[in-house]
């Protein structure tokens, strides 16, 4: 059970929106985390520095913002095999589908990109169905 937290949700969302907007207005880049992360670790990519700084900033932002009311999780219940499978799927899917929650559901949707609208609808429905099956049918 988690509580409905409208104020922190709106404020956190606003920061994410401002972040994506800054990166686009000033640098002309889309704040898609999966894409930035993937390109940051490609040895052949010669435009890696800004990506590393963005990712470093992200970690710093998490560090500054974490406190008892907005903490990081201390542990995750999921088993190791499930964690690994989910990790592989998230990485694989975001690369094949050219984006994740940030690139498609925020930046793409915000630009009204048809591809991102379709991708967001598909992954939201698939994710909700997955939760429905694991929680209510398999009863995990």
């Amino acid at each position: 059970m988690t509580e409905f937290t409208p104020l922190t949700a709106l404020f956190g969302g606003a920061l994410i929106g401002v972040s994506a907007l800054l990166l686009l207005i000033f640098n002309g880049r889309i704040a898609g985390i999966s894409g930035i992360l993937y390109s940051a670790i490609q040895p052949a990519d010669n435009d890696r520095l800004w990506r590393w700084l963005f990712l470093l900033g992200l970690m710093l932002g998490v560090f500054f913002a974490m406190n008892p009311t907005t903490p990081l999780p201390s542990d995750i219940e999921a088993s190791w095999p499930l964690l690994i499978i989910a990790g592989l799927l998230v990485g694989f899917g975001s690369k094949i589908g050219n984006g994740c929650t940030s690139g498609h559901a925020i930046c793409g949707l915000g630009r009204l990109s048809p591809r991102s609208i379709v991708a967001t609808i598909i992954f939201m429905i698939t994710a909700a169905l997955t939760v429905f099956i694991t929680r209510h049918i398999l009863g995990a």
Binding site: I16, I25, L60, G87, T130
Partner: protein, 141 residues
């Protein structure tokens, strides 16, 4: 200056994820659990981020030929709904729904120092590399 913007943008993004609690897999799964203990918070995160980014995009970005500090906007103008997009989004949704962690929070939760989050993160990077290999192979055929 461009590097400074990248860093600041990253800080805001990470702080936003944390304050919004998207870094909490339980909260994400409860958002996706519409018929169960639905926690609508993350819908507000998205609405808020979209309102700001979307209005900024149409008012401030679309009206310009180039970004303030660079030569061009690196934005996809591909509008084709193809199979990789559909298959990729489906697989991504499946993985996200299993655990409740997407790429941003995968990076953020490394700060917990908990080895399980490292496991997820490494698996995610491997998944990306495998996807790249497979799409290259298919493209070369």
């Amino acid at each position: 200056m461009k590097l400074m913007i990248a860093l600041i943008s990253g800080v805001l993004f990470g702080a936003g994820l944390t304050i919004a609690q998207m870094v909490n897999p339980e909260k994400v799964l409860n958002f996706l659990d519409i018929t169960g203990q639905w926690d609508a918070s993350l819908a507000l995160v998205m609405a808020s981020a979209l309102t700001i980014f979307g209005s900024g995009y149409f008012l401030l970005v679309r009206t310009k030929d180039k970004p303030l500090l660079d030569k061009e906007f690196i934005v996809s103008n591909n509008n084709k709904i193809d199979n990789p997009l559909i298959v990729g989004a489906t697989i991504f949704g499946l993985g996200w729904g299993l655990i409740g962690i997407c790429p941003g929070p995968a990076l953020a939760t490394l700060l917990t120092g908990n080895i399980k989050f490292f496991g997820f993160f490494i698996a995610m990077l491997i998944g990306m590399q495998v996807a790249q290999k497979i799409s290259k192979t298919i493209a070369n055929e």
